[in-house]
């Protein structure tokens, strides 16, 4: 079943065309990656789906409903959640407050407490720093916090925008382990990455974005062995 369907999506920054009508879909239970170089339009795609950037043309459908005109904040209670590029945790708020904000759409206080405890047992470093402002955390800890925060709303579709950015190889592995873990819990994942090799290794399918249009698509396994992908994105 198609969970997210993007058809002919066009986005402009002023007169500059950032997305020239791209189409892709994510089926329920999949991990799908969008890979591509800087400026290809990956983040633009992610942000326009969540209503952070206005859409000029095309349609975005989520679980059979067109969501182009739905205000972004309403998408969260429908089960969409995004870990934005650069993590964007609330620097002046504590780790705990960040997590509580992640549960902004949740009403069940006991469940929220349970979810936070679960995140703390998964990421003990966050538990230790519960009352510390998030701005004092390291990059890796902030990424864990951003991912935990995004899970607080119990999403069905989790979108991650460059979760490995600026992290050491060990932490990158950890981030991808967590994504796989969330996926195993039944969350559908749309992943945007520059680290194509890593992204392809955990994905079912992938799309290669090049200056605002989709250049290639296919099973992740095939793309991993595709010669042009290897040359351009895998550095082999």
């Amino acid at each position: 079943m198609e969970m997210l369907k993007v058809e002919n999506l066009q986005v402009y920054y002023g007169v500059i065309c950032a997305l020239k009508g791209i189409s892709f879909h994510v089926d329920q239970g999949e991990i799908v990656s969008l890979i591509g170089a800087n400026g290809a339009g990956k983040t633009t795609t992610m942000q326009s789906i969540m209503g952070l950037i206005p859409i000029k043309g095309g349609t975005v459908t989520y679980n059979g409903q067109v969501i182009n005109r739905v205000p972004g904040h309403k998408l969260v209670s429908r089960g969409m959640s995004q870990v934005p590029e650069g993590r964007r945790v609330f620097q002046d708020l504590t780790v705990y407050e960040n997590l509580v904000l992640g549960a902004y759409t949740q009403k069940d206080k006991a469940q929220i407490r349970k979810d936070i405890d679960e995140i703390y047992s998964r990421f003990p470093r966050l538990g230790e720093r519960s009352r510390q402002v998030a701005g004092t955390l390291s990059g890796g800890e902030q990424q864990m916090l951003a991912m935990g925060r995004a899970m607080m709303s119990h999403p069905k579709l989790l979108m991650l925008d460059e979760p490995s950015m600026g992290l050491s190889p060990l932490l990158v592995d950890q981030v991808f382990d967590i994504i796989r873990d969330y996926h195993r819990q039944g969350v559908t994942v749309l992943l945007v990455e520059q680290n194509a090799k890593k992204a392809l290794s955990i994905s079912d399918r992938a799309y290669v974005l090049e200056t605002g249009s989709i250049a290639l698509e296919g099973a992740a396994e095939d793309l991993l062995h595709n010669e042009s992908v290897q040359k351009a994105y895998l550095g082999e």
């Binding site: 969540m50 952070l52 205000p71 904040h73 708020l93 509580v100 904000l101 992640g102 902004y104």
Partner: protein
């Protein structure tokens, strides 16, 4: 002693107004120069209910609070919301326009002559050997209660936390499911309600209403907000109280009393020279 009490109570008034400036700046990222005129609206609301309709003080206070809150929401909806995403200069000029609009409306409706409004006399009490008017004590106590309440609201409730989130990163707040427009509306409502409270205490000190009544306290409170670090809630409180105390001290010394306003704004310049972000302002690197 009485100078200190006068200063603290004037400071509480400034702080209440400054909170409106600082919250709106922090959350909507704009300077609402019409905020001072909300005090004037509140003052005329009190004048109308008490002098025209002959109602009591409490009715007048509640009426002013309701009217100011609605005015704040209306102002945001009609004038500022359509400009979301527009250049800051356009928003700033609109705010100045709204300010003139409110002042001119008041002139049309009530005329330009200042009118007296008597909130009643409250007598005075003896505190540490000094005779302090009850109105001063009321201003201080209620001001402190309102500010404590606001601090609790911002730090302990979901809506308050959402306000902090929007203030820091509007996009990320939206990704949490926060309705940013609603939070901005709430901010204007709270700021305007505080301005209504300020108008009551202002009239206790100077029982005259006129169309330009809001501009001077508005500018002073804005100064206080900048001194405290605009965007910072405790900063606005500290800046307001500081400015109020300094103003009353200057006014009590004959030699410098004529220079009071100059001294206050001079202080602003001095503080900005030493600490451009204000006393409690936060310095943040702009991310590219």
């Amino acid at each position: 002693m009485s100078v200190l009490f006068d200063g603290l109570s004037l400071g509480a008034i400034y702080a209440m107004i400054a909170l409106g400036y600082t919250m709106v700046y922090g959350i909507a990222k704009m300077l609402n120069f019409a905020h001072g005129d909300i005090i004037m609206v509140g003052a005329y609301a009190i004048y109308t209910t008490m002098v025209f309709w002959g109602k009591g003080l409490w009715v007048a206070v509640i009426g002013a609070a309701v009217l100011c809150t609605l005015m704040g929401i209306l102002m945001e909806k009609l004038a500022y919301k359509p400009l979301r995403g527009a250049s800051p200069l356009a928003v700033l000029i609109t705010a100045i326009g709204v300010s003139y609009l409110l002042q001119s409306l008041a002139q049309l409706i009530f005329g330009v002559t200042p009118r007296p409004v008597n909130l009643g006399s409250f007598g005075s009490v003896e505190i540490l050997g000094a005779s302090i008017p009850v109105s001063t004590v009321l201003t201080l106590v209620i001001g402190a209660v309102l500010m404590a309440g606001l601090t609790l609201f911002v730090n302990k409730t979901n809506t308050g936390r959402a306000m902090q989130a929007v203030s820091e990163d509007r996009g990320a707040a939206q990704l949490m499911g926060v309705n940013v427009n609603f939070i901005i509306m709430i901010t204007f409502a709270i700021g305007s309600a505080l301005a209504a409270a300020a108008s009551v205490f202002y009239l206790m000190q100077i029982p005259l209403v006129e169309p330009l009544l809001g501009s001077m306290p508005g500018i002073k409170a804005f100064t206080a907000a900048v001194i405290g670090g605009i965007g910072s809630i405790p900063g606005a409180m500290i800046g307001g109280v500081m400015l109020g105390v300094i103003e009353k001290i200057c006014l009590s010394i004959d030699a410098i009393k004529d220079y009071t306003t100059a001294i206050e704004f001079g202080l602003l310049i001095l503080i900005l020279l030493v600490r451009p972000i204000g006393l409690l302002g936060k310095k943040r690197r702009e991310k590219v």
